[in-house]
């Protein structure tokens, strides 16, 4: 079947088998391999993308659900549009060593941006609770939590400008 949606700001039309998962569509058909698949039980969160602005696990979503929707993946995350800069959350992860092997990172970033968008005054407890659906095996989460707090503050500051 044919579906049309907005992918990272661009109108996109693709032919898909109806049983295709969004994560597979992105990785195999559209060559956007930044969205990772770390499990088969929707537990790890490496595949989180934004569907109409909300974080979803793309390994649990069928491609036909994209029709008419807006999808943002890690490849589309950026600072001010056209600025060629990283998003403040990406900058914060680099600044605070919020990643090691990098495999969970795209999902962490997408979840973090959604958390900070939903609740601008995030507490440490909010962040820890909000990251429950994203597993990291490398960092012990400490620097991820620090990064998300810093990234959220930077997003707020940018909004205020």
């Amino acid at each position: 079947m044919q579906i049309s949606f907005t992918l990272n700001g661009r109108p996109t039309t693709v032919d898909v088998e109806p049983a295709t998962l969004v994560a597979e569509l992105l990785r195999e058909q559209l060559n956007l391999t930044g969205t990772h698949i770390g499990c088969d039980t929707s537990q790890c969160g490496a595949c989180v993308v934004h569907l109409d602005g909300l974080p979803v696990k793309s390994c649990t979503l069928l491609a036909p659900a994209l029709d008419g929707a807006t999808l943002l993946t890690i490849e589309g995350l950026q600072g001010a549009p056209g600025s060629n800069q990283m998003h403040p959350m990406q900058e914060a992860f680099r600044e605070h060593h919020g990643l090691q092997c990098g495999f969970c990172t795209p999902g962490m970033l997408m979840t973090a941006v959604a958390l900070a968008t939903e609740k601008p005054d995030l507490t440490e407890a909010d962040v820890r609770h909000g990251l429950e659906g994203n597993i990291c095996r490398c960092t012990g989460y400490q620097n991820i939590v620090v990064s998300v707090m810093a990234g959220a503050a930077a997003m707020n500051a940018a909004k205020g400008e």
Binding site: G34, H36, I37, T41, E75, Q90, G102, A125, Y141
Partner: protein, 795 residues
Amino acid sequence: MGNVIGIGAAPKRKEDQRFLTGRGNYVSDIKRPGMTSGVFVRSPHGHAVLRGIDKSAALASPGVIAVLTGDDVKADSLGSLPCGWGITDAKGTPMKEPPFPMLAQGKVRFVGDMVAFVIAETPEQANAGAELLKIDYEVLPSVVGVLEAVRPGAPQLFDDVPDNICCNWELGDKAAVEAAFRKAAHVAKLSLVNNRLIGNPMEPRAAIAEYEPGTDRFTLWTTSQFPHVVRFLMGALVLNIPQHKLRVVAPDVGGGFGVKQFHYGEEAVITWAAKRVKRPVKWVASRSEGYVSDRHGRDHVTEAELALDENGKFLAFRVNTLANMGGYLSTFGPNIPTNLYGPLLSGVYTTPAIYCNVKVVFTNTVPVDAYRGAGRPEATFVLERIVDVAASEMGIDRVEIRRRNMIPKEAYPYQTPVLVQYDSGDPMGCLDGALVAADVKGFGARKAASARKGRFRGLGYSTYVEACGLAPSRFAGRLGARGGLYESATVRVHPTGQVTVMIGTHNHGQGHETTFAQIVSDKLGVAFENVDIVFGDTDRVQFGMGTYGSRSLVVGGAALSKATDKVIAKGKKIASHLLEAAEADIHFESGKFSVAGTDRMKTFEEIAGAAYVPHNYPLEVLEPGLEEQAYYDPVNFTYPGGCHIAEVEVDPETGTVTLVNYTAVDDVGTVINPMIVEGQLHGGIVQGVGQALFENAVYDEGSGQLLSGSLMDYCMPRADHLPMMKVATHSTLCTHTPMGVKGCGEVGTIGSPAAVINAVVDALSHLGVTHVDMPATPNRIWRLLQNASLPVAAE
């Protein structure tokens, strides 16, 4: 022009850009023209005779290209998966080493054992074909626990391995230990289980292989921590592919923790299959598949006894352990519960006599091998737990008993009774630092506050040391290693003075691209941004043993340091010619070669240029070019260690243990990049906390089914399980590595399980609880509380 960023600085990581923007290059991201998909058909039984496989329906399924089984492996006369260590018992009898076929032959020995490989045009077609394979199994009873496996009448995995015992390994002076026990004023005893773990790096394993008929060359892309070792083991010992015809690439790898430091049968099957089907073949494991095929870790049952005099001085330590090997010997398998366990039983203490017996046992479970810490967390857990038991039984404060037995700083180098000689350390300094950092003085008030909420609060200590920087080859060889454990580095200076380093270690999260670049920037005085680190490709990197055992900086960094020294030495020769001065008078500092006592000098870039444009150059005595290589084989292990203090709160209503504070003061030697070291400590600690509180691989006795076979059943630590940890370093310098480094990748995982469980036991000690097995789940604690004397309010 960028800046020199040297040793001790904390630049942001070079590798982050690609990971933050979704541009990493992991094996599963790679696509090759004409690529096919493969799936492994795995045994659903723990133990069964493989009576026959009917491929016909599978082969007729749409898109299926080939189905390979153990019979095909046999027909092609391929080798068995090799074990890299051959241990012996006290009499020198070699371990039992049954063959480990890459696809099962005659029998399957664990749930997940590979039976067939189905190749098709798409993953869906491969899966559909696999469903149609008819496999005739005669199911046998399984044995999964070590205690059960050595009992008379237990199911036998191999006809020629009586009682399932691979090796009955011993270390230490048994007679001296027995004599010391006879004199002891007190003997503390402890029985414990070191729970079985599954490493779960976030990237599942994957591989792609390709064969080029025109050149007779193979390429394997694999999620590996040691591509050169895979090339050797697989090429030379399994598939008979000449080394120069085989390229192994391990690109970005999403975490390893040991799980990816073995040569797996999947790699061999896929490489072999690529030639048979004459097309590239790709396989990506699902997480569920990883649970039943990634090598597991730990799984010990131990009886320990500590003999003490009337003042609490340790006289002797005796440890008897049954260690689970699973169904076959994996690459490092038998080395882990023996050579990486027994020699650690001295810990940071002056115990004069130690004896350790380890029975290495086969069971119908996934093969067990190294997982972060590998042997050393198990040793630390036994020792640090029994020290607490002894302190409690003798009425001596837990910190005080440690102090009375600790090796004083001035006693280093210190020869233990269990092979190893610690070169440097200051356990007392780490302990003192941690006591302050953890605000142990304020613990009483915090405990009282918890009690007012109806919670029990406990504090736990772990003062520990480990042996890493694997390893001195000569020493390892005496212990049974079948390979060397050196490392290699090439420093290639380009004509413009920029530098590319080719190194045999593998970066999968540890920040090598940054840390190693700092070393080069520091030593050669070139800008940090002008140094790139290449790893993970046997065609680009000369050789290497890979990354595990906290060896990358210790052994690889030392090779890199030596290679940069050679570059400087050659640069001095070139400078001496250009500056018309004696070589002995050339001084190199901050990127400049100068003549001592003069202002005549040449920059590093000028020397590099002269080396590649040798118009004015001593060609009679010196080759052009500026590229040097070094191999480094360490003279000893390194011995990082420290003191960890955990603080927990137990809710007696639910049995839930909450880690409320965690403090670590670790001695990792010289710190190159403190940001990265801190990150390694955080991650390591949380993996140990995972073992102590959450993680447990559970098998069903009899059927051999893995009951904890998904992220739903095997609890991984999550962000909201954890407090903010305090980590700090208190370093003494390693005396035998070029930069004084000791390694930091595993210390967290080694020190933390004992600290956490000691805290849990402390919290419950008023109820008569003397030991809690890991993981201290709510269920386990709640049951313990139901069986304990009625909970009275904590003081």
